[in-house]
């Protein structure tokens, strides 16, 4: 259930900003496109009262440590509590453009050069996270903004995990949070110790597959249960036999197959390596 706040109520609470429009809310945050008095655009996110403080602290910590053009920039984080009044919000840079999900159209693959440009820049952002030992765990089209110049920005670090810090989930499980359609096998079947940078690379592989072929490697609309998606992601190799995949240049097929390996050991070791290959394959 998304956390929804009426834009008029939000405007009332934050009179320093002009509220332009409501953005798609998540379960934990109501989001708005706002402008300050100087006319600068931001994304203001109001945090749901029941949201775990520890988790938001992690998100803030993650965002504070990364400074990269392909990762959303944190401007302000405030938590204040007075009797009868609590203000808990994040201000991030506002990314003009659209979500990646609006540009991935079934049956319409992207031109190769556009794929190489977009995804190599996305790899730059992912590698910046890797250098800070942060795993996003929820890389999906809705969490990637596309600027008007077609460059990507990774947003929403609500499920991010810092590998050097203890996990917030208390059980040994705890890998299974995020969006199943973009899960890696270890997010279905593994423990939290199995989650690392290569978990994000698997999701990157799914996005890359969708951009190159115009279809999802594992998911189809007939799948109604998580169990069906799990089976496809963890056990199926149907993605290697689809006609749209078979039609790709052999080198692209090698890269895609590798990103979508079930075992992390067989995936590329990091996003920088993938980015370099994308540039080479795209002739950049």
């Amino acid at each position: 259930m998304p956390y929804v706040v009426d834009i008029k109520d939000a405007q009332q609470m934050f009179q320093d900003y002009t509220f332009v429009r409501a953005l798609t809310p998540s379960e934990q945050k109501a989001a708005f496109h706002v402008k300050d008095k100087a006319g600068n655009a931001f994304c203001l996110k109001l945090i749901a009262p029941n949201y775990e403080r520890d988790r938001i602290d992690r998100e803030i910590q993650a965002l504070q440590t990364i400074n990269h053009p392909n990762v959303v920039r944190l401007i302000e984080y405030t938590f204040s509590s007075k009797p009868g009044q609590q203000r808990h919000y994040i201000v991030e840079e506002f990314i003009e453009g659209q979500d990646l999900q609006d540009t991935l159209t079934p049956g319409k693959p992207w031109p190769i050069k556009a794929v190489a440009q977009f995804f190599s820049a996305l790899c730059d952002g992912l590698f910046a996270m890797k250098e800070k030992e942060i795993v996003h765990r929820d890389i999906k089209p809705a969490n990637i903004r596309v600027r008007p110049d077609r460059s990507p920005v990774i947003i929403d670090f609500g499920l991010a995990r810092h590998l050097n810090l203890p996990d917030l989930t208390q059980t040994i499980d705890g890998a299974a949070i995020g969006t199943p359609r973009y899960f890696a096998p270890e997010q279905f079947d593994g423990t939290k110790h199995d989650i690392d940078h290569r978990t994000d690379l698997f999701a990157l592989g799914i996005l890359l597959y969708e951009a190159l072929t115009g279809e999802s490697p594992f998911y189809n609309p007939k799948m109604t249960t998580r169990c069906q998606i799990r089976q496809a992601v963890c056990e199926s190799t149907v993605h290697l036999t689809k006609l749209s995949f078979q039609a790709l240049d052999p080198k692209w097929k090698i890269l895609l197959a590798r990103l979508l390996e079930k075992e992390r050991a067989k995936r590329p070791s990091d996003a920088r390596q993938v980015g370099a290959m994308l540039k080479k394959l795209g002739g950049l």
Binding site: K130, D194, L255, A257, R258, E263, A265, P268, S269, M277
Partner: protein, 397 residues
Amino acid sequence: MRRGAWHQCGDRSQKLVEEQLQQGAGVGVIISPRDLSRKNAITYAERYRALGAELLLDHQYYVPEFTNERFDSYPISRFRKGVSSLNKISDQDLTNFRNELRVDHEELKADAVIAPAVVYQAGRADILQLNARLFAASKRVADDLKIPIYATVVLGRSVTASDRTLQTALSQATALSCDGWYFAFEFEDERLPSVRETVRRSCIAGLILACTGKPVLHAYAGPLGLLSFGFGATGVAIGHSQNLWKFTRDRWMPAASQGGGGDAPARFFSNALWGTIIYPDETSQLPAAIRNQVLTPSPFSGPVASNLPWSRWDSGKHLVYVLAQQFSTMAAETDPRKNARAAIALLDKALSLHATIQQSNVFLGDNTNAYQANWKAALEDLLRDNQGDFDFFDLLN
């Protein structure tokens, strides 16, 4: 990491290694604290470096509770404890461990840090965590000294027992952000590994590591190193003693006797047989034409050509030299598939030669023809079943 043969130091290796480097055999040296005191290690490190070798120090935490007098000459040895004790190591002790590791690497002027690590075992999450902590400490040393960090991946028998356990262990081990891999594979206890399935699995493990795009140094390879450039290794570690021909934890257990082979006759390592033949007991039985094919010469095998007495010590030098030359040739070729095919061709010829020897009613000892066919088959399996890995390796390079 330089491409080619690396000298894996062992017991009484230091002068032999120096002599080999003088002959232009080998590109690097891995110092063994088990066999060389700290003071001697510093002295020899300088001499090896003067001969142009790259230098590494392997602190050998495989059986971390094992120590001896030479190990004890390194202050870091106070952290040689069992896994359960190491699991409880405090942050302060880890800082001390790091400081000792740093001092050793600084004084030896090592070219990279090999992160100490315990042998990986199936289902042992505690070992994963311990190795990750030791790696993090070692990486800080490497970062401070501005040299690369190599993660140690020594796969124990419980891991190497099946493809599934192998891949799981590799997924965990390869999570470490290193600049290269120091890799060894624990085989069953035999003179040279001969089981096709296990040898195939060792090649798969090496290929998976090579597909990370980082250099792989195949430690304790010995003659099996013939296969290593076929799975994408950058360096192959060789040594004169049979203890250095494969990885086994037994070597780090307290020994019942001093070992050394007693009065056993010299073994001649023949490139053409890719194996040893007992000199002169077996070589003298060979018909002249076969004998000429078998006795591939080296700067250390002079007396053999004239059938003169030849010491075991010189046979060790000859072995290391022949391996180094072969591996130097293979290292010049960067395509692992070509190297795998070259190794298959060499093993094929060796098998034919062994067959010819048997046809002349000479039956060689030491089980010296027990493994070539299976090594060849293992490489053929690798080329056939792991095309995707080779394709990805090509794409990376």
